[in-house]
Symmetry: D2
Subunit: 329 residues, 4 copies
């Protein structure tokens, strides 16, 4: 049984609290949030303790592991403090909004020996994971072209976007990790940003983008993003190889289809957002984290993954801004 | 090049005229219809001659083959006359409305040596034919259960229904042939007729039915019929065997799918009716007829098939009327 | 929090134990099974107590509700005893193997006032339930034809079949309930049994069947059953109405599709059996049971449902044996 | 009735000959090819005359229209000669391998007043055309992202590739036209070429590519190409708009699906290549050409379309070679 604390009682904190509470090997011990009664309320739902200072989490002897869902600028300080205190860490993405912050902390990050995993939840989605396993098992021969379609049902508030670090760090970061999950090292990034929503354009950010990634292997990945999708949370993946192709289709609430005079075999809108769409993924992510901690084996995602995803996000931001592809070392 | 005459310039006559006109090995020579200028008009569309008396077809030396699309009570007289005149015959279903008419003509029917084929067009549908070929090739092991779903987009006029011989002779006759095409001899028929439309009920006919057929092999076929279907002409087939199953799905005009806030991956309504849905089937049917005639080989469907389908229709009519299953010799 | 006891530590007992253990409002208090250490073992997995005598369940003051998963001949004795003891009951199907047993206990059954629900789990399947809700909401107009396809992945051992009461009481019973769930009162049953497996034939039972049910409304339901299906647990439903149709398709482990030189857009085999396929249904069934008990409102399924499903199973058995349809009062 | 001559009796010449021969308003009058007996043979199949010199086509008084399927470097000379002779022209793509050739002939091209149409057959594919019509009808709101997946079943011989002008002029040219068909003017091109096949790499050409096109409207199109696809001729299109999305899926020979212990609902490989896949498109293309000629109305595709597609192909070639995006005036 792993006693887990959560830092950050926001939307993602609630996701993790629920997942932890229903996991047979985990116990929600402590919830920390500095604002109002957010921590107290969330903790109360699951019979956990609460606190307002992150420091109280790191010094809590009962806490074995910390899930970091604090604002992104606090990710590095929090994970370093947790690691110093000997806690295992499951940290949300992205690691930081700026690679400079990573570089500044590089020596300390490199020295961490406690388990630190990053919440790239899509790696644990049973659909995407099954595709990758099949690729690794040679079901489609050498992987040549990967297409990731990732559209949110609706854009977050403009206030959120303004401090999000931009679409590539905030949204595409997941898809960058997925591309790396399938293709390994990326050597070139070209991003075409789109301004479809004038309100978002005013913040200086894009609200849609198409990114081309060239892998060291010669494979090319295409990421198609949009902050808005009328049909729900559009999350698909297509892996095309020399001997076949694999598709991870969208997930619907049921298998029901409707036929009438207008449409036939019509399915329902996609599951609306990440909590529903990736519920299984969050559960499996936590299981793998706990298993890695308990067996003292490597976590399935690492700081290196978080850094590389951020590097791609920075490259995409540069590419979309300058209009030129960016080559990576 | 086969010179073909059509008897009957109604709906099915038009289908055959078009198919013949566009077939590279066929020529529409003559169209015969006693009513008004129907024959003249249809013939005119394709540069063929026309006549009003069927006798003029049988005596026409240019005519090699006759397609019989006259009213059902004339099928046997016309096919016997055509055969006596040495013409090859492609006759529409059903062979007759009453088995008594078949029995009365049995001796003459048995003596026919010219090619006589019956228009069970669905045997030539590429989808159904592909399923059958796969079954025969052992792709699903021994065939255990066959499900045929066959619904028309809308009922014909009540006047037509009143003289149609009833749903089983007029509509299900195709499905009986399909069942025999897959399963061979049928030994038991149980039919549950439905009266969903009060106007049709007044004619004494059913407008929907579910028929259970037991084959000599032990396999069971289910036929689900309805004179009405909101989504179009619903024509499906499911062959379930020991080692797998095959499905022939509906046909749509295009492969286009639509997603929005209401539906996702919605396809178009099914092709509306038999002319569109079975256009390929009519073309292939004609090709196989021509090939059989020209090569003097057996036609793919025969009078025996027509008689057996009628026998099943009579059994189903009896079963639906008496409420009891009917065993066949 | 409802303290629940399970009687019967067999396969279905394990399903319920797991569902209870993970339900936020339920607690597994006691497991009862007379054979070996079955009860002890299952109880041990979830920290519950165990006993060997059913009587000990009924007299246990801590037990609020009893889930009856004992052999079918004990269902009525157990549910009467539990009800007499004031326990709420969730009983597995069928209520009995013989209507005579129901009739013998009728007076006592009629007098039960504690909540008694029957485990017709498919009513709680989100796919089937969504179809029914859409039907009730008028999405497809008047329901005309219902098609239920229900095939198990593989037949149970012949020993089980020999005491199962036959395919209609053991397997089709679920589909009878589904038909009633959609269509209400059934007035006629015709069943065509099939003997595809000679080992099962020796037990005197069928291993496949097609059943036609006529509802009082005039709608007709078709049930297609097979004890064996190469593709997995084949559980589908098609509701065809005047203005449209709804389909509940099979469930697969993921949304992944494969294309190669042999197949395209190929999906995975269906979830293999009821535990996986109806995991959500068992969870929702338990929730609705708990909610009914706690709110003292009617249970969603009742003894009357169990009796009616058995009546249909008896009628189908008679029909398949005599070869004649059976009319119900 | 339009009397049509074909120049070039190669693969595409055969496609057009067959389409012309079966068109009710067209007649194949003449086939021209300088090599061996190619023209004579093809003409013989359809009862047409043949010649070896293109000049003989242009001076033939019986010829109303010329289909140009000669090698690409002859497209401009042939279409100018045909136009000077007052013939209507249906010319294959691309207009030329080098924009310099277009510029050199610009004055003459601009002066053509006879109907000249270009064979961008995919515009006439019923699936793609239905998507576009739906987009124009506002079914998905403003078009934001277009994804074109276009993979050939197998690469042509290396000898062909060596003189093809490269993947962008030879293969992607169709997709560039499709992008323009949906999005109009393109202002930026970024192409990532791939060398998956070492034999093709030796010719200096790519055998796969991902191209990003930015439209003047702000929409972005992605083209994913591969000279090889294990599952057949992979031809799909996805139009994603503000209020929904439309998908044109691949075409299979039948609607048959297979389920067994390995796969479920598996469909057949895609129609293998352009002749089969775009048979309807070639037929409709010819019909629209004939209709435009006969009604003296504008052809649905023009020299301007051919020039713009070539411009995009040149930009993509430059982008893939230099690694930089190319902006168009």
């Amino acid at each position: 049984m792993l006693n887990i604390a959560i830092i950050g009682a926001g939307r993602i904190g609630h996701v993790h609290a629920k997942t932890i509470a229903s996991h047979p090997k985990a116990r929600l011990a402590l919830v920390c949030d500095p604002f109002g009664d957010a921590a107290e309320k969330l903790a109360g739902e699951y019979g956990a303790r609460s606190c307002k200072e992150a420091e109280d989490v790191f010094t809590d002897p009962e806490v074995d592991a910390v899930v970091i869902g604090s604002p992104t600028p606090l990710h590095i300080p929090h994970l370093l403090a947790a690691a110093r205190a000997g806690k295992a860490v499951l940290c949300e993405k992205p690691i930081a909004l700026d690679m400079k912050d990573v570089i500044a902390a590089q020596a300390e990050l490199d020295a961490i020996t406690t388990p630190v995993m990053f919440g790239f939840n899509r790696r644990f989605d049973p659909n995407f994971a099954a595709v990758r396993t099949a690729v690794l098992n040679g079901r489609i021969g050498e992987l040549e072209q990967l297409t990731i379609i990732s559209r949110d049902p609706a854009a977050p508030p403009v206030e959120y976007i303004a401090v999000s670090g931009g679409i590539f760090r905030d949204m595409t970061i997941h898809d960058f990790d997925t591309a790396r999950f399938f293709l390994g090292d990326i050597v070139e990034v070209f991003a075409a940003g789109q301004n479809l929503d004038p309100e978002i354009e005013k913040t200086g950010d894009f609200d849609a983008a198409v990114v081309t990634l060239r892998a060291a292997s010669g494979a090319v990945a295409t990421i198609i993003n949009n902050r808005h999708c009328a049909s729900g949370y559009d999350q698909r993946l297509e892996a095309s190889g020399r001997e076949g192709a694999l598709f991870a289709e969208n997930v619907r609430p049921t298998t029901v289809r409707l036929s009438n005079g207008e449409v036939t075999d019509a399915q329902e809108p996609y599951l609306d957002f990440f909590l529903e769409r990736y519920a299984d993924a969050y559960r499996i992510e936590l299981s793998e984290f706990i298993e890695a901690v308990e067996s003292a084996s490597p976590t399935p995602t690492t700081i290196a993954d978080a850094v590389e995803a951020l590097r791609l996000a920075e490259a995409a931001t540069e590419s979309a801004t300058t209009g030129k592809p960016v080559r990576l070392a």
